[in-house]
Symmetry: C3
């Protein structure tokens, strides 16, 4: 259950720089590669000749060459040539709209006529020298919506991430959730608390004292199909919190693209963008390593949750106030999915 007329993050540029990449997205087996002038291309990962995986092939002069018998593809899915063959009558392979932007490769698996690059979610921190970004990719065996639920209810930090970003005060802070058009925002503000270890390290990374009380905030924003951007940060207490002067705070954006692979598996592109000390590469690497460990903890919980839901598909779950972020996000998804269905049965 995922919308298809939308842009998903499919991979990062480095994954296709050297050779084609085969990856399943929204149930479609797709080969991603760099076509003419290095422009990214995406095709059905199935050679029309004998069904070989095109992703095992090579790119030659911007064309994808099947690694089995040398059929040559244009990036629009038309066969360009094949040794010793006349290819005019060869069937065309499905191509997928694909765009490289903001340091990611975005793919559209739905109706290609609707694939407008302007619909790609803007990332204001990308390609911005005042910001630094680093992240990673996890394959997670769960419905991508479980990950959205996870990210839209950060009370889990207290229990899943006890030694890094969790702290008791998260639970105690009231949560506010609202839907604004196709965006869901859920936020929490904590005042005059001690920072947990991950944030203490960040304070030090911005040359701020880490042993004094802070104000802490979490503002999670879901946008379709499966992006969750979370503004997180701490400021020395009493300096204005979220609105404090940059010299008194550390502030980051947790970046989460939850791309469905199948109904019950997903690609988790996670990362963090920050605008303090952006040129400090050692700090960037340190934050990435810490975040990688923290987010690996989520995958264990979510995969076990998915196995439980597979075993007991009929069980009703609770919907509490803390679940409002996930519930409202799923409501948007349900509407988008419904809008994609054929209208034939309407009276």
């Amino acid at each position: 259950m995922f919308p298809k007329n939308t842009w998903y993050v499919a991979c990062t540029p480095s994954e296709i720089d050297d050779k084609p990449l085969g990856r399943q997205i929204c149930g479609e087996k797709i080969v991603f590669y760099r076509g003419p002038e290095g422009k990214v291309a995406a095709l059905d990962d199935f050679c029309p000749h004998r069904g070989a995986a095109l992703s095992l092939g090579t790119v030659c002069e911007g064309k994808l060459v099947c690694g089995y018998h040398g059929l040559v593809m244009n990036c629009d899915g038309k066969v360009a040539s094949m040794p010793g063959q006349r290819v005019q009558g060869f069937p065309r392979t499905r191509s997928f709209p694909v765009v490289e932007r903001y340091g990611f490769i975005w793919v559209w698996t739905g109706d290609e006529k609707l694939a407008d690059p302007d619909l790609i979610h803007p990332l204001e921190w990308a390609d911005n020298p005042e910001w630094a970004y680093a992240g990673g990719l996890y394959h997670v065996k769960c419905d991508y919506r479980l990950m959205i639920d996870n990210l839209m209810d950060l009370t889990h930090e207290t229990y899943v991430h006890t030694s890094s970003i969790g702290q008791k005060e998260i639970d105690e802070a009231p949560v506010n959730t609202k839907t604004e058009g196709d965006m869901v925002v859920t936020s929490r503000y904590m005042e005059n608390v001690m920072a947990p270890p991950f944030w203490r390290a960040n304070l030090r990374g911005n040359n701020l004292a880490d042993d004094v009380p802070v104000d802490r905030w979490q503002v999670c924003r879901f946008t379709p199909p499966s992006h969750v951007m979370i503004e997180v940060g701490v400021a020395h207490a009493g300096k204005g919190g979220y609105h404090a002067d940059p010299k008194d705070k550390v502030h980051s954006i947790v970046v989460d693209f939850c791309t469905p692979e199948t109904e019950t598996t997903m690609w988790y592109f996670w990362g963090m963008a920050r605008n303090f000390n952006p040129k400090d590469k050692a700090l960037t690497a340190q934050i990435r390593e810490g975040q990688g460990k923290v987010f690996a903890e989520d995958t264990v919980v979510l995969e076990a949750q998915q196995r439980n839901l597979n075993t007991f598909p009929e069980r009703k779950l609770l919907l509490l106030n803390i679940d409002a972020g996930g519930v409202q996000s799923r409501r948007i998804l349900d509407r988008l999915i419904a809008e994609e269905q054929p209208q034939t049965q309407t009276a």
Copy 2:
């Protein structure tokens, strides 16, 4: 096909001393943990909030805390609390009757109203300073009844355990099998034979000569649902065999709890209890290591047998006199399983 209104061994105390344990027993996914005052508790391993695996959580002041969002469970399956929530209306999670006794945790997956701890199979050697016990646990991919068949027909020792406890004379000794109420007893006595390596080591462990003829015995007792206790031993020949004076023999009880996980997989709790030199811990460790190797040989044979039976479910097998122990044990199981079925179709 297993009876559910009965006590199965679920785990050993050490498996839950540090943290909760998730384990499937008779098809039920269960979390075992130590509740108030260290008393063992067992609940459905499924958080009523979002379906997380409770076994990934922690125990705090005797209560199980879900490792996802901090829902707190009492050991009766009622929700005790949850940060920021009013939990009175929360659904109750199924709890399972569970008892710690004789060095094992016993669970009842059937009708809890019938769960009488007095029905737990008595183990006279447990908690008895004149006896020593050690054992282990194997996960085996076979129907638990194949393991019962195995243990109730020890002719297999000659072929599966050639280098340790097998000897040709087992085959040649007549076997006697009888059902006594809900117990099946199958026994064999060999006279004036040379002890195989495992038993020679035991003779030495009791300071007895290992190079003289012995009388050997095997008395296997099946009791429902899946316990097989086997009295085994050797005595210097002509000293009275099974009834010989303790100074002339070595005598042990092979302990086997064959707990179903699913219809075709099981947890095999194996061990050995002995009443000679019970304080010799090195001997205990040596026997445990030897038994572990011997019983691993069974798992290879049984898993291949299960694959064969899966491939050819329609094939009829032979039922020989040596199979009487397994046949009579299954007859008791079939009756118990039938008695558990609803009586509605009876005229």
Copy 3:
């Protein structure tokens, strides 16, 4: 979809010299072992007593002894004896016609009345001191017919084996395919080309210059059920090519037995026979190692192709001139399979 009234290569002698071998061939689980006087025998790998895998047993005086309870089998599938049992009434186990010839064990999984050893494909190079042979075995997760397609269209060498035997001129050389009775022959001849690395090493192995132009040939012969023998070689250019004097060429036979395990998995017995420098064991080992690396490249492509075909079973594939070898081979297989079907529905 495979013919059953035919001889398949099941294993090599060394696989059964020390102990029985369990292997699935054409969907049949079979135990292969050396019976009386070392003669190979093949039985259903299922003990009639309790369904144990006979392949876990031992051979004693030419009889197969079940490794569970000691049932003793004759090589015709009749039970010879069992400790303490009268076995006259025991059911007979299916035996399979099996022959050791040419350094392979051949099995017939169809109607045993039709199993004529004279139908085994002759291998003129086997047991011939003027030839040397070495090979290996790969388990490949694909329909055996995908491997036949692969071997009957060597244009793939250019793309799959770029660094060893591939070269652009293969594509450019015309291919000729014809069916002769139950044999399909597809051939290619290249003139005045530079030899690729694998063939340069072979030239040096026959003390021939490797840096001069050569004529190269590939003559692939499919015979049912799944043998593909490929005459391959290079001669110094202008010396007569395929017909050149032995001192001016290197010539080998690529040997491929593609034995079905199940509908979508196979055993790939690959090897190479050569008649130059046959006593040079270091050369034999070097060729075997090189061939092993080359043929492993095929398995990656074919397993990905099989996964694609599983995902899209309805997709039509192209049938080009280069596919004629595979197409004509499958046509013979289809006819043989049809001939094996019962004739009852014929009017």
